[in-house]
């Protein structure tokens, strides 16, 4: 899932940062005495998914009465701090939900169990998962998790505004984009931008200083990956993040193809089609879209319920990513996994649970709740069907995974958090006009690559 989005959900408890270690012992299972029963501690951060996994845990317990799974949910903002301090205190959970940008440091310090021997022994079918997801969790021939779900990115737009401005939904399915003139995507963005006098962005009388509805809302707090926009477009423009993925050591933020993409974003702001960075709402794009002050943005599949759920205050619809200069649509695909604590006294039981989480039995249950797309392809289809049954048209997210070369994996490297901060800061200063795109990104790239020396 996307890190920055999660962080927003958990603002409240940040202030507790200092006091985290002492409280709450998520404790390793200490219950061998109770008649051979084993309790497996399982951690996750997404409260939207807790019910699904509780259902999995119940099904698992029914099939294995000697093993009970205890689920603990902690908000994203505290999740990794708690996990790390618990690991340091020798009180780690037996199994936890793992994320690509955090797991390298756990691997480096030997905290995650290599499950390759179990996978080989039990002949787990790795081909059942969405392409590429299983390989994310392999380093030097060792495997540190089984894929549990995935997410991709698409365009979300306000369908009422689209209609008012006379843009047909069919046009949205065939948008093109290039960094020079923005292709038909920019045309639509301009049309959807409306000033206080009702002139749209293509009208010569358009007043860019009094914009009522912005045609496009960029996401600037998007770390080093730009999963919610600039990353996807830059890759469509032919850019690659780094020398190899996963486990590359040379980033390429100094590539002109990325700078061109950022410059394209900047001209949207200059023309008044997107809000200025320093006058942009800090409440998140969903709040601005829901308030009817923005018409379109890029949104990951984890936000389906935000825009198509019952709480949305506007009518939204989805469109695929625009076709890039190379003639292909590109979206980031990212997935989570489940990791087993290397020090757990119940390795065999923990593996059984992880295997179950990675099986169609559990992922079908998750699919039925229509929250995320499970990693197993057949289960993804079921999740899409469950969404359709609720009247939500989400096929663009699934289509992306079926397009050859339509998806790319987000970088997995050491120092993920530091890279994130450096690149985000650099991009923000570029957008603010404090430094040119090429120069700012070159500087950031030097800083980033210095981390790996």
């Amino acid at each position: 899932m996307n890190t920055t989005k999660r962080a927003g959900a958990a603002l409240l408890s940040l202030a507790l940062a200092g006091a985290l270690a002492a409280c709450g012992s998520g404790g390793a299972s200490q219950d061998e005495a109770s008649g051979g029963n084993v309790e497996i501690d399982y951690w996750l951060w997404d409260d939207n998914q807790q019910a699904s996994y509780q259902a999995c845990a119940d099904a698992f317990h029914a099939a294995n009465p000697a093993i009970t799974v205890k689920i603990t949910q902690t908000a994203w903002a505290q999740y990794w701090q708690n996990l790390t301090t618990q690991l340091a205190a020798g009180q780690a959970p037996d199994v936890w939900t793992d994320h690509g940008s955090y797991y390298p440091q756990f691997v480096a310090s030997g905290q995650i169990l290599d499950i390759q021997p179990y996978v080989t022994r039990d002949k787990v079918d790795l081909a059942q998962y969405q392409e590429g997801l299983a390989d994310l969790w392999v380093k030097d021939g060792k495997r540190y998790g089984l894929p549990k779900d995935w997410d991709t990115v698409a365009l979300v737009y306000n369908s009422t505004m689209l209609k008012e401005q006379g843009v047909k939904p069919d046009e949205m399915a065939d948008l093109t984009w290039n960094p020079t003139d923005g292709g038909t995507l920019q045309q639509v963005i301009a049309k959807l931008t409306v000033d206080e006098n009702g002139h749209d962005g293509l009208d010569p009388d358009f007043d860019k200083n009094h914009v009522k509805v912005y045609g496009f809302l960029p996401e600037w707090a998007d770390g080093s990956q730009g999963q919610n926009g600039w990353g996807d477009l830059a890759v469509a423009n032919g850019w690659t993040y780094l020398d190899k993925n996963p486990w590359g050591t040379r980033y390429r933020y100094d590539d002109p193809k990325l700078a061109q993409t950022i410059d394209w974003y900047k001209q949207l702001i200059d023309k008044g089609y997107a809000p200025k960075f320093d006058k942009q709402s800090t409440l998140g794009r969903d709040a601005v879209l829901n308030a009817g002050k923005g018409a379109m943005t890029f949104a990951g599949s984890w936000t389906i319920n935000t825009y198509l759920g019952p709480d949305a205050e506007q009518k939204f619809a989805l469109a695929p990513m625009p076709v890039g200069p190379a003639g292909v649509r590109k979206t980031a695909i990212n997935g989570l996994s489940d990791a087993i604590f290397a020090g757990t006294p119940h390795k065999e039981e923990a593996w059984k649970w992880v295997k179950f989480l990675g099986s169609a039995d559990c992922q079908d249950i998750v699919a039925g709740n229509a929250v995320v797309f499970p990693a197993i392809r057949t289960a993804s289809e079921k999740a899409a069907a469950a969404h359709e049954a609720k009247g939500r048209d989400v096929h663009v997210y699934v289509d992306a995974t079926k397009t050859p070369d339509g998806t790319f994996l987000l970088p997995i490297t050491d120092h993920g958090n530091e890279v994130s901060q450096i690149v985000q800061d650099a991009i923000q200063s570029v957008v603010l006009g404090q430094i040119g795109a090429a120069e700012g990104l070159k500087k950031a790239n030097d800083q980033v690559n210095a981390l790996f020396t």
Binding site: T4, A7, G8, L11, L12, L14, A15, A17, G18, L20, A77, W80, Q81, T84, T85, L87, A88, Q105, F106, S109, Q111, E219, W220, A221, P275, K276, F277, D278, K279, Q280, S281, T282, L283, G284, A287, V288, A291, K293, N417, E418, Q421, Q424, D425, Q428, S429, L432
Partner: protein, 320 residues
């Protein structure tokens, strides 16, 4: 953060309440020794708590500051490397600078408003209800205060910007713009703490003998003149104390920044020193490096405390 600030301030409250004790204890100095023994007995629980919850962690923190430690692997001794790195880390110095900027904005505005409020309370009304109301913002948890203002001051959806727009003044990205973010955070905390500071100053004003005002009134002095010539000079020791303690509390700004930065705030323009330490320790898991930064900060605060002590001693003769 909050507790430390509150503690610092309760010391102030004691000082303000009983400034005349200073002279008394000096007279008692020549007592027999058994009293001291009893005193130590009474101090044991506090000392034990201090040793366990402050002393021991501080010593460990010092040890960690000499190591490369990521919480997961055992710490490896690296000598003064962390300190050397710190001295050359532009982010660290930037964070210190940003903090000083915040402290200046926060303390100056807070002291001015608090002084004005205290004077009004002292000379105009002594309504208990009014005094209680002044404390209200201070009673709201800091995170709530930050969230409240983030919504009110939002660049696009906030109420304040709606007003500005209605008056055709143009909108301001209070938390979003790097130029505005720090002043905004400073003023938000001023809003939250002015009432409390005002109350401390007010308590200090109550110590000023009323006859001074009466004679001044007879001599025909106006309120402004009385404030300048009686209130301010007589209040000086209390003012100095409140100032320095608020300063140290202000240096430890964290929660508002953490909340504002967790939203898509103004990036490095508001990354204060506590936030820097927090990120190093709990986001990047550079425990050793973070400990070194924390110790340097402790040193800075220590210097400020020495200044505080000097000011206190200087002020003692003032009130006697």
């Amino acid at each position: 953060m909050r507790t430390m600030r509150a503690e610092g301030r309760s010391q102030v409250a004691e000082q303000v309440a009983e400034p005349s004790d200073a002279g008394a204890s000096r007279r008692r100095r020549a007592r027999p020794r058994d009293d001291r023994r009893a005193a130590w007995l009474f101090l044991i629980p506090v000392l034990a708590g201090f040793a366990i919850f402050y002393g021991y962690p501080a010593v460990r923190g010092f040890w960690y500051s000499l190591t490369d430690y990521n919480l997961l692997s055992p710490p490896a001794y690296v000598g003064a490397d962390n300190y050397a790195k710190l001295a050359q880390d532009p982010q660290f110095w930037h964070a210190l600078l940003v903090t000083v900027y915040y402290v200046v904005i926060n303390i100056v505005s807070q002291m001015l408003f608090a002084l004005l409020l205290a004077a009004l309370m002292h000379r105009l009304t002594r309504s208990v209800a009014l005094r209680a109301m002044l404390l209200l913002p201070w009673l709201v948890p800091n995170v709530t205060v930050a969230l409240l203002w983030i919504w009110l001051l939002d660049a696009d959806l906030g109420f304040v910007n709606h007003l500005l727009k209605a008056l055709d003044l143009g909108t301001v990205g209070f938390f979003a713009s790097p130029d505005w973010a720090m002043p905004t955070i400073g003023m938000v905390n001023t809003w939250a703490y002015t009432g409390y500071t005002a109350l401390l100053l007010y308590a200090g004003m109550l110590q000023i003998p009323p006859h001074l005002y009466e004679s001044a009134a007879i001599d025909g002095a106006g309120e402004v003149r009385m404030f300048r010539s009686i209130t301010l000079p007589m209040l000086r020791p209390v003012l100095a104390l409140v100032l320095v303690v608020s300063l140290i509390g202000s240096f430890q700004i964290f929660d508002t920044v953490a909340v504002a930065a967790a939203g898509r705030g103004a990036g490095s323009a508001i990354r204060v020193i506590y936030y820097f330490i927090y990120q190093q320790a709990f986001q990047y898991f550079h425990m050793g490096y973070a400990s070194a930064a924390a110790l340097v900060l402790a040193l800075v605060l220590g210097v400020l405390t020495v200044v505080q002590m000097l000011l206190l001693r200087a002020s003692r003769s003032d009130l006697a």
